[in-house]
Every structure is written in C-alpha cells, then in structure tokens.
Symmetry: none
C-alpha cells in the first residue's frame, strides 16, 4: 500500500510559499501506517492537474490532494476531477446551505462565485468543512482512493483528522506506532550519543528533528499487530525518558509554552512577563494556548527605556549604569512586573535581536533573562545564533525552560 | 520551456522535514524566467528515483535535483543516473583531491565511503563544491538539462548560483513579469468580482493567495520582451489599484505591520499597544520588523482585569459596568496606553479569542479595537471567524488596518 500527496497552486511552483501542507500530510499518513513515497506539486493548470491526478491514481492506493477548492477562477480541482472521471459537476444542497449560513454569520450574502464551492463531481463522497467555506471530497481514481482538501492549513488539518483518517481506516497497512518526545536544552549529537544502543535493544528506529532550538526525538516501531507495535514503541520511549531526564519536556504536539502553563497551574502559581527584545513573542506563545488566562496575568512590552520606567518602574539610573541590555535591568524588569501585576512569578527578556545594534561587548544575539519569584530572582545570560526571528524564538524558549527549571527546583 | 525541481530523501516523504530547498529553487528558477511547473519529491529508492528521473527528463527542458549525493548507502543519485544513461561511474581525480583536502582540514582521512562522492556518470559536467564534500553534476537526460546538487541548503544554494545559473544562461525562456499586491479588508470572492474583466482587457493572469486574513493579488504578464511583459503587468496592476482603492496596502513581500510602521515613521508618529485577547501578537508582529524601536515604544499585555487597572489605569468600575470585552474598555485601554507611555498613538484589543468564553451576546470571535490619538479615539467592533489563532491574527490585522486608515484620514 503506497500513498502520495499532491499539492496544487502556482504560488508553490513559483516558490512563493514553503509547502508545509505536504509535510504535515506525509507525517500524518506515515503515522497511520502508510508508506508515503511521493510528494508532488503542480500549478493551477488543467492539463497538468489532469496528468498528475491520472498518474497518482494509477500508481498509489491513496492520495491526498490539497488546494484548488476556493471560489476564484484559478480554483480548478473539482471541475478537473469531474472531467477526468467523465461525470458532470453537481451542486450539493447541504454544502450550499452550509456556505450560505457561514457567510450570513459574518454578515455576507451568497454570490454565484461562492456557490461554486458547493459543486462536486457526481458520485463523490463530500467532506464537510465547518472550519471554512470550501468542503472537500473523495473519489475512486483508478487504483487510488483520492481525497481532495482545501489548501488553508488549519482547515486541511481539521478535515484530514475528521474525515480522511476514518475513510482510510479500513485499508490494510503496516502496523506501526510512533512516540514523539519533545526536548529542550541538549544538542542533537549529544542526544544521539546519550541514546546509543536503544534502537538495537528495542528493535525501533529513532529519528531526530530540530526546529526553533527544540529537538523532537521520534521512536518508531513496527510490530505483528498494532498493539505489539505500540508496546515496543512505548518500551523504547520509556528508556529514552530515563536516559534524557528533564531534557524531555513533553510528548506529541505539545509546546514548551503549554508545558510551562500546565506546570504553573498544577502548583497554583501565576505569571507575568516583561519583554524588551522578544517584543511580545513570549506573551503571544503563552496566550495562544487556550486557558492561558487562568495563570497568565499579563505583562509589558517595553521597547523604549522610558516605557521600562513607566510600566515596570525600572530606575533610569540603573539603565544608565548598566545599559538596557544587562542582567541588572533584566532583574529589575522581572521584579517590577511581579510587583505591579501581583503575579507570583515573572519572566523578563532584554537583549539585542539584531540585525543591527550589536557592539563588541554586547553582540547581536545577546539576551539576558530573569525569573523572579517569592524566594528571589535568577538570571541567565546567553548569546543566540541566527536571524532576528531565530534569536527571539530561541531566547523565549530558553526563558520558558529556565522558568520551568526554577519551578521544578532543578536550577535554584 | 518548462522546468521542474526534484527533491529526494525519505526524511521528506515521511514528513519529518519541511522542504525549503524546493521552494528556494522554484523561486530562483522563476526569477531566471523559467516556467516551473512541478516540484516532486521521492524517497531514497532506486526504482522510484529512476522513474522520476525518466519522467522529468522527458517532460521538461530543465530539472534540478537535490539530495542523494552523500557518502552513505542510501545516497543513490549518481549510480542511478549512470544506470539510466547506460554509462559507467568514473572517479574524478580533481573531486577526489578536493574531498581529501577538505577532510584533512578537519583532521580526518579519506575513506572509501567518502571517495564514493567523487564518482560521476561518464560524460557528466562536474559541479565543484568548495562549501562541502559532495560535488554535483549535470547531464542531458532525454529532453532536459538535468542538474544534481547536494541537499544541504547552504551548499545547494551556493552551487546553484555559482554553477547552475551560468549553465542555464544560454537557454531561451519566456519574458514574464509579475506584480504582487497585498490587500486587507475584502474577501477573496469580492476581490474576484471587483476585478472582473481585468485579465481579458490587459492579457494578464490574476491569481489570489489568502493567508491570515490578508489576500495577495498577483498580476502576471508575458510579453515579446522583458520590458513589454513588465509594461503589461504594470498597466494591469494600475487598474487593479484603481478598482480596489485603499484595500491594497502594499506591494511585494511587505506586511501590514511593516506598512503601519512605515506610515507612522513618515508622519513622525509613535505607537503604544494595549493587548488583551491578542496576547502580545500585535507587539510581536511589529517588533519582528527590524527598526521597529524607532516608532514603537512598547505596550501592555493585560489579560486579567487587575492588570488592566495596574498597568493601564483602566477603572475597575468601568470594567464592572460594561465588561472587559466592550468598546468602553477598549477605549480606556488605548487612552491609558497612550497616556502612560507618552506615545502619540495607541492601539488596543479586547475580545474573546476562544475556544471557550463566549456568550450569546458576546460570542467567541468578538473583538473590540480602539485607536487613540491626539484628536480623539476611534473604536471598531468585529466578530472574526476561525480558531483561536485565526481570531487573534485577524483581529490584529483589522487593528493595524484601522490604525492605518486613521493615520491616512480615511476613517476619522
């Protein structure tokens, strides 16, 4: 059983957009036990779409296609599939009503352009989309079960989980199980050395994926049954956790922000932030987690020195003596945020994210972080590599990790 | 003249790694005037590599392949191409010496495993790699000039610029020009309706790309010469601008945040933020633009009611009377942020990002925004669709758009 992913859109073939949909789908299909052997991309042209649909339908058992289901003239997927199958497009009343109702909720009326999104090849299985206006559909295309989803990542992901995964359930495939563990604070080569021998001892494959200063450790097992594969993967994952200790901060698709919030919640703690160089990124990552408001009180983004004083009470004399990027100012920011908001803990960042503003003694990438709590304040100085965005992201992750270690008592 | 990109590697087909190489190459080839119509990915299996090389060689004039040139057993590219061409692999003495010298610089000696990287199909044009150990090569594969590069992004990019671009120089290509316009505040279907007839009148192709509540409108023209193509695209883009008015906020790769900062800078204005439901996202987007500190003073992320009072001076009685999610509180937040930071303008957000917390009168997605400036305060109430992340992103973009319109005098 082989599977393929087809991404459509001239914005992809012209190199205007990195294709994260194909990677997400390949990971999801692999996780379901399919052998994904091709990820193809074609632009919005009928002849090329037709050729790709025909080829992937003949060569694979499953293919998932994204894009081309929107309302505009360059959205050709449904019409092209219908033509290839030799069936007419038919308007689906239920989909039309769902689109009409969705538009009405936002005060808009249904136009003929929007109505086109309710047209599907006759006989297709329609995949409803309560997350947007473009429903998807599935058809048998030669050998393959072919599923068509919109290209908007959040809608595509929700629809894959809700509709495509159940459609694929009856298909035979390898019995595989993968455990994904999230780590922070250890380099890939050190993780690799620390885990030497685990693959052979448990008959699993260990993979690593580094992104944004975090490294994901993936343990993949195959077995005689789904339960056997899961048992092998879990046994190996348990040994990985033992060997890596608190470097593993979570499992699956969690984030350091979510784990920090959970840790605060479990201990009845609350948090405030004081951000200079990270410019709101730490707050944004925390508040993107639903329910953050239970433990996160708020914070200040203090770019100018005057605002550091006005919102957090940082003494101008302290800034004059040590500079805004200093351990002393990081400490004063965290203590000011804690005092002014009444939160039980506060985390601060001050640094030079670049690309300009570095000096020989304070280079681009230098970030001072502080965690203030009832028993005192702990500071951390680091120089992070990378672009402005990478420096900010790495600084925030290092700050969250410091906060977690302070709470867990590892680092105080 | 069509071009294709082939990426090889099981880490790609399994969804472990986002394929940025294909996007980079597609952008580079498009920039050179080639019509890139396919970006394909296959795993490291000889039969699949052979099928892909044969197909892309038959269908395109140019294809660029990355990956599979390393020293390990799953690096199959050179041997597979040689077999397909019916020629032997030959070891290249100059490449072998370059690999030996490079390894020696890092204190390592040349093994047979490394030596394999100096083997190329007989007759291939060798593309030296002073940036790593894997040289590339180019061959004629049926119709196509096929170029093979290593998968390490920095090496691949350097080798494309140094070796592949000059090889492609003599090939004839289309004369094309594309103008990309960024819009905010109009739905895709409405843009499409508003631009009806522009394609036919100017002989151009108009494409749309929606992301994060913004929609990019792309106008692509072909012409008898580069100048002719540009003139056609510019004429059509000018009509698009006329039809869409201030909905078009910029051109190329700019962002609403960058345009807002630029507009503030041009008028000598400064900005503060007061964020509740957006949780720091507005600050994060502004401060991700280098140089933001010249006009952005800072702001407060005020999740709890107490912190709204402590950091921004919002009266508890006002919150009690109208609720934290209200036009009155949005107004008080913006006015408080402006007063406390000394910025000439302030932008605030308070709303319900979801997934929980909605009520019949204040549903999930409801966001109140306010812009405070020297002449007064303007508020906006909107209900945004989507996930928590989408509501936040859309609210921030709507706030930036309101701020821009207030500055430009469109909406006061």
């Amino acid at each position: 059983m082989t599977a393929a992913v087809l991404s459509t859109g001239t914005e992809l073939t012209r190199g205007e957009l990195v294709n994260t949909n194909a990677t997400w789908l390949a990971d999801a299909l692999t996780g379901l036990g399919f052998d994904v052997v091709a990820l193809d991309t074609v632009g919005d042209e009928e002849a090329r779409l037709t050729a790709a649909f025909r080829r992937l339908g003949a060569e694979h058992d499953v293919f998932v296609c994204t894009g081309g289901l929107g309302p505009t003239t360059d959205d050709l997927t449904s019409a092209t599939v219908a033509k290839l199958l030799g069936v007419p497009l038919e308007r689906d009343p239920a989909s039309l009503e769902a689109i009409r109702a969705r538009l009405a909720r936002f005060g808009r009326s249904l136009s003929e352009t929007n109505s086109k999104q309710a047209d599907f090849p006759r006989g297709a299985t329609i995949l409803p989309n309560p997350w947007g206006t473009a429903p998807g559909f599935a058809v048998k295309l030669e050998r393959a079960l072919a599923c068509f989803l919109p290209g908007v990542p959040s809608e595509m992901q929700a629809m894959f989980s809700a509709h495509v995964a159940p459609l694929l359930e009856p298909l035979p495939r390898a019995r595989r199980y993968q455990v994904r563990m999230r780590t922070f604070g250890m380099a890939e080569s050190d993780l690799n050395d620390r885990l030497a021998g685990v693959e052979a001892a448990h008959g699993v494959v260990i993979g690593y994926r580094a992104s944004q200063a975090e490294i994901e450790v993936k343990v993949l097992a195959e077995g005689s049954s789904a339960a056997d594969a899961e048992a092998r993967a879990r046994a190996a994952a348990s040994e990985v956790r033992t060997r890596l200790g608190s470097v593993v901060y979570g499992e699956g698709t969690t984030s350091l922000a979510a784990v920090v919030l959970q840790t605060l919640r479990e201990r009845g703690l609350t948090l405030a932030l004081a951000e200079s160089c990270t410019g709101g990124l730490a707050a944004e990552l925390l508040t993107n987690v639903p329910g953050a408001s239970q433990v996160f009180f708020g914070g200040a983004v203090v770019y100018s020195n005057e605002v550091k004083t006005a919102l957090l009470g940082v003494e101008p004399a302290l800034i004059a003596a040590h500079g805004a990027v200093s351990a002393e100012v990081a400490r004063a920011m965290a203590e000011g945020a804690r005092a002014r908001t009444g939160a039980s803990m506060a985390l601060s960042f001050t640094g030079i994210a670049g690309p300009d503003g570095g000096t020989p003694t304070k280079p681009v990438g230098l970030v001072h972080t502080a965690v203030s709590h009832a028993d005192g304040t702990r500071t951390l100085e680091r120089v992070f590599p990378g672009t402005r965005e990478q420096v900010r992201r790495r600084a925030v992750n290092a700050g969250f990790s410091l906060l977690r270690r302070v709470i867990l008592g590892d680092a105080t």
